[in-house]
Amino acid sequence: MEDVRIGVFVCDCGSNIAGFLDVPKVVEYAKTLPHVVFAKENLYSCSETGITEIKYSIKEHALTRVVVASCTPRTHEPTFRLACEEAGVNPFYFEMVNIREQCSWVHMQNREEATNKAKDLVRIGVAKASLLDAQEFIVVDVNRKALVIGGGIAGLTAAIALSRRGFEVVLVEKEKELGGRLNDLNRLYPYGVKASELIGGKIKEATSSPLIEIHTSSVIKSVLGYVGNYEVDIETGGQDVHVSCGIIIVATGASVLEPKGLYNYNGRNIITQVELERRLQKGKIKADSIVVVQCVGARTEERNYCSRTCCMTAIKNASLLKEKMPDTKVFVLYQDMQCYGVEGEALFRKAKEMGVIFINYDSGNPPVVGEKSVKVYHRLMGREMEIGYDLVVLSTPMIPREDTDALSRLLRVPRDENGFFLEAHVKLRPLDFATDGIYMCGSAHWPADTRESISQALGAVSRASIHLARGSIKVDPIVSTLADEDLCKGCGLCAALCPYGAIEIIDTPKGKKASMISVACKGCGVCGATCYHRAIKMNHFTNEQVGSQIAAVVGK
């Protein structure tokens, strides 16, 4: 058997780890573990210096396995694997131990116990490392066609950007018309561009592009496959259309809350911002006094998030009204004004200069809309006011579309606690889903204004283009394999239980045998845990490797 020489690197993560547990002690302990020939403390293992140190030590001490005890593998496992590869060690001879999220950050109050737990975790990691196998990445071809779901501003922008890069796009829209929410809007902040002009231009470009295939009144029926090779069935006007594509962009947008039962909403003289926009489009509004109420049905117990865009919408529309009818009084009743960005702040100031009156109210004591007047307790003046009105405008939040649940199941992607689609990482992968090859942009993710939707769409296109332009993908070989063909009796239980249809039973000269479709396998392990002949091996999580970790939990 080959000589297993393990190197252990324990990261301080500045003070994130070293501040709460005794790193030098963990290093000393690691040196006593079987097969460990070298152990070292790094200030930041993931930094240029840390990586250089790891690579240098691999050469210097002829290491054949590397263990890094630091943060979550989600962030830096690829970094360290690459370092191993560059230093001549197979990237799958690397094992990562999490002593930050799963140790120092949760045991900040107890340095000694945290140190002991870190030692345990390192011991478990080293046990597995000594049994690791070398693996080669699986390479798959990418279908260079893209699918964009949603034909609003985000989806159209994405489709156009992809087509300009020379990729074929299939655009699917649920409604009869393209355009989405912008069809209902009048003018857009900050520069007062007409929504119809912006969206009209996009629709024109998309419909005239030879690379964009558009399906309106269409819904996604089923999604199979994996990054690079998705097979999607679409129902379009009673007909089924099949699309093969390499990546999917979700741009399904959001709905706007209808304030049923709130503030005496009636759709006549007590309306929503969207209804106001439609009236402004037509240009017919007559009123001497207009009261706008913010945070209607938002930031409540049921819907505790801020929809972000409604403050700027209110400021924009209040200014437009004031511009058209300088003698009309416009009041905006708010909790907090959310006017982020340089232009937002400037528009807020301009609205005040134009004479829009902003009144601060407390969420515990909201305004009351009566038949002729609105009563509000002015928090800054400390007294109740009564304002007569001809028109009340309610600013309601964006809410997830009803069908996001169904779509999330089809795509097997998660949603957050409010029902919006959830990104893979809030800072590192804000436009990706955790599933490779699926991206998101616009309000499907979180209430976004037009500008943000456009930039997110361009961002998602840029992310997706990496796969499309390369034309092939390297997939982690952490998949199930038929390790021993002779043991397999072709019983088919594994194939019956595989949730991805990644196992086929095929005829071989030796009889019926299981056959794995590696690129479709997600490495869940159901087949391996089911095979009673032990013919199936889960790469990187073998019975022996996991067994050694369990034994290491107890064996000090």
């Binding site: 239980l493 239980l497 949730p499 159901v526 845990a529 009673y532 032990r534 939990v553």
Partner: protein, 206 residues
Amino acid sequence: MILDAFLCGVDGVLILGCKDGECHYVTGNMEAKNKIGMTSRLLKIIGIDQNRIYFGQLSSAEGTRFVELVENFTKRIKEIGALGTEIKEDKEELKFRLEAAKAAVEGEKLRWVIGKKTEFMGIGNKYGEMFTRHEMDRFLDGLIMDEVAVREIQLLLQERPLSVKQISERLKIPSNRVLRYIAGLRRKGVVDMERVDGTSPLYRQL
């Protein structure tokens, strides 16, 4: 793996997974739930407190619930005590029973039944017969009991040839049941008669 952990000497195994329908691997948590449920029944049958295994379901955003589950489980295991306190015999007996249980879960029968459990209870079997939860549980208990007994007999016969009477006394199983298991094992060609001692035949593992 769970039984391996008990064989390593741990006192409890807590497994946490996502909520129903939220599995990253589509149906993985359901499979896990079925398997863990069966292993827990198995513990009960070999005389070990089945609460030593717990499958908790929560989302990754529920920090407080995580703490609650871990603390409750730790408390529960402390109450039950060290592994083996519920068995009056020695450590060897504990190991013997766990080994038999492990062989049972690794066997063909239990893996097929558990693999098909969701289907049996949701769509029905090949003949369209649906199983209720109660029927399924009763069926499983019977099956597990048989499987464990068979594995125990095999373990005993590996060491030395024994008669039905001796096995029956050692395992505290009625001799008619032992005879039935032996007959089954002989049919499979795993066990055979070694010699006749007085009037009773002795069997051995092949």
